[in-house]
Symmetry: C2
Subunit: 290 residues, 2 copies
C-alpha cells in the first residue's frame, strides 16, 4: 500500500508557519522523550469529524501526564482547517510537554508546545476497501500493563517496527496481541471480528486504544440491529470468524480478509462489513453536513 506524501501546512502555538520555518526546539521533550500526545483526525468539507471526542481523549491523556490543559487547541484546529483549504484533509494535533534540557523528570516551569498540521487526506488505494487488507501478526506484543496503556502518546516506535515487519512479510498492516496472547489492535487501528452472531472488539484492558472510529462503530451497531460486545478473545476466534475489519480515523473502516496465510471467512469483504462501511459513510455525511 503506497500513500502519496501530502503537502502539509503547520501551525505552532496557534501561528501559521511558512514552509521554511516549520521548526520546534531540538530540546523539546516531545522529541527527546516522546513526552506528549496527539490526535489524527479527518476533516470533510472543512469540518473535523468528531473533533470534540478527539479533544476529550487528548485532554484526558494530558491530565494523566500532568501536562497543562490546552483549551485554545480547539480554535487553533478549526482555524487551521479553514485556512488550509485543502478539501478533505488529514489533521494532526500534537501537544508536547515543551522544551527543557536534560533528565527524564519533568521540570515545573516548562511551556507545552502545540502543533497543528493539515494536509490532504492520504490517497489510500481503493483496493483496500474493495478487496480488503492482509494483516501480519506482530512478533512483539502490546502491553496492557503499561503506565501509558490507553493513551495516544507519541511513543509509536513499536507500531513503526511492527508495520515494517508486516510490509516485509507482504502484509498491509500489523495485528498486535497483548502480552496474555489476546487480540489487541492493529498498528494504528482497532479490530472488529464478526462471528456470525456477535460483533466483537477487544476491550481497553487488552491494550486497545479507545479509538474514535471504534466508538462510532459501537454506536452504529444498535441501529443496524447487530449485537456488539467488547470482549476478550484470542487469535483463534478471529481466524474462525466470518468477517473482520479494522477501524482508524483516516482510513475509516477497512475489511480485514486475511491474517498471514489464513483467510477470514471467504477471504473477501463480507456483507456485515459493507453495511458498517456504508453506515459510517452516512454518519460522516450527516455530522459534516456533506
Amino acid at each position: 500500500m503506497s500513500v502519496a506524501a501530502p503537502a502539509t501546512a503547520v501551525w505552532i502555538d496557534g501561528k501559521r508557519r511558512s514552509s521554511g520555518d516549520v521548526h520546534i526546539s531540538a530540546l523539546d521533550r516531545g522529541l527527546t522523550l516522546a513526552d506528549g500526545v496527539f490526535e489524527t483526525m479527518p476533516a470533510f468539507g472543512g469540518t473535523v469529524f468528531r473533533l470534540d471526542q478527539h479533544l476529550r481523549r487528548l485532554e484526558g491523556a494530558l491530565a494523566t501526564l500532568g501536562i497543562p490543559s490546552q483549551p485554545m487547541a480547539r480554535d487553533w484546529v478549526v482555524d487551521a482547517v479553514r485556512s488550509a483549504d485543502v478539501g478533505d484533509a488529514s489533521v494532526r494535533l500534537t501537544v508536547t510537554r515543551g522544551a527543557a534540557p536534560g533528565g527524564v523528570a519533568p521540570p515545573s516551569d516548562v511551556r507545552p508546545t502545540v502543533i497543528v498540521s493539515v494536509g490532504p487526506m492520504p490517497a489510500f488505494p481503493s483496493s483496500i476497501y474493495e478487496h480488503g487488507l492482509v494483516a501480519h501478526v506482530a512478533s512483539g506484543r502490546r502491553n496492557e500493563h503499561a503506565m501509558t496503556a490507553g493513551l495516544k502518546t507519541l511513543a509509536y516506535t513499536d507500531a513503526v517496527l511492527a508495520l515494517i515487519e508486516a510490509r516485509r512479510s507482504g502484509a498491509d498492516d500489523a495485528l498486535f496481541l497483548d502480552t496474555a496472547g489476546h487480540c489487541s489492535e492493529g498498528s494504528s487501528s482497532n479490530l472488529f471480528a464478526w462471528t456470525g452472531d456477535s460483533l466483537l472488539t477487544p476491550p481497553l484492558s487488552c491494550a486497545a486504544l479507545p479509538g474514535i472510529t471504534r466508538a462510532a462503530v459501537l454506536e452504529l451497531a444498535q441501529p443496524l440491529g447487530v449485537h456488539v460486545e467488547e470482549c476478550v478473545f484470542g487469535l483463534d476466534v478471529l481466524l474462525e470468524g466470518e468477517e473482520a475489519f479494522l477501524t482508524s480515523s483516516l482510513r475509516g473502516l477497512a475489511p480485514l480478509v486475511r491474517v498471514g496465510g489464513h483467510a477470514i471467512g471467504t477471504g473477501k469483504p463480507g456483507d456485515l462489513t459493507r453495511r458498517f462501511m456504508a453506515a459510517y459513510a452516512n454518519l460522516i455525511a450527516l455530522e459534516c453536513s456533506l
Copy 2:
C-alpha cells in the same frame, strides 16, 4: 532530587547551532512517532566514557529499526565535546529517521536527523550517594515482549510517567517489574541486588536495557572477587537482599536503600555497593586518563 537545568550546546547533522537556532522540523518522525534512538553519555576531562560501546548499541538499534548507519556520529560527538568545553559533561546523541509528512509506515527517501547536545554534568545531590535512593514500584509494567524491547528508542513516555508517580509518592526513582512480575529496571537505570552470596541483575529477557554501566559492573565483579549473575528474580528477592544499587550512565552507581516503605538490608548504603562505586570511579579515571 532537584537537578539544575544546564546550558546545552547543540549540533545538528554535525553543525553547531547558535542558541536561537536549535531547531528541527516539526514533521521529524522522531517527534511525531518517537521513530529514533539515543544515547546519553558522560564525558570526563573531554573524553566520553565508553563511547564505542554506546555507539555499538546505537548502531544495533538503528539496524533493527531500518534507519541508516551513522558512521559520522563518532567524530561529531568527539568534536562537540571538545568544542563545548564545559568540563565534566553530559552528552546526548539522538538519531531519528528524519522529517516526513503523515503515516506510520516509513517512507524510503527520508534522511536521518542527527542531534548531539552537550551540557554540564547534572548536579546530582551528594545525598543520593551518601544515603542512597528510595524507589517506588511503578504501577505499570515494562514489556519484555515489546517489538522494541532492549532498544534505547525515544519512547520514554512510560519512564516519564513512572517517575512522576514515584516523585508524588516521595521516592527518588521508579522501579519497574516486567509483565510477569519479575524485577526489570529503574526508570532509566539498571538494577543490581546483593543477596550476601551473589550479585544479581535482571537479564535482558526481563525487559532490562543492556546498560553500558551495567556492563561495566558485570566486568568489575571478577576482579573484586564477587560472584555476579544475570538472573530472573522477583521483588521478594530484592527486598530480602542485603544491598542493592542502580546504575546509569550519568548518575553512575547509586545505592538503593528502600523500596516504598521497606528498607533493603540496614536501609543504608552497604560495603559491597561502596566497593563497586570505588572500582567504577577508578575505571573512569583509568579510561578517561584523569
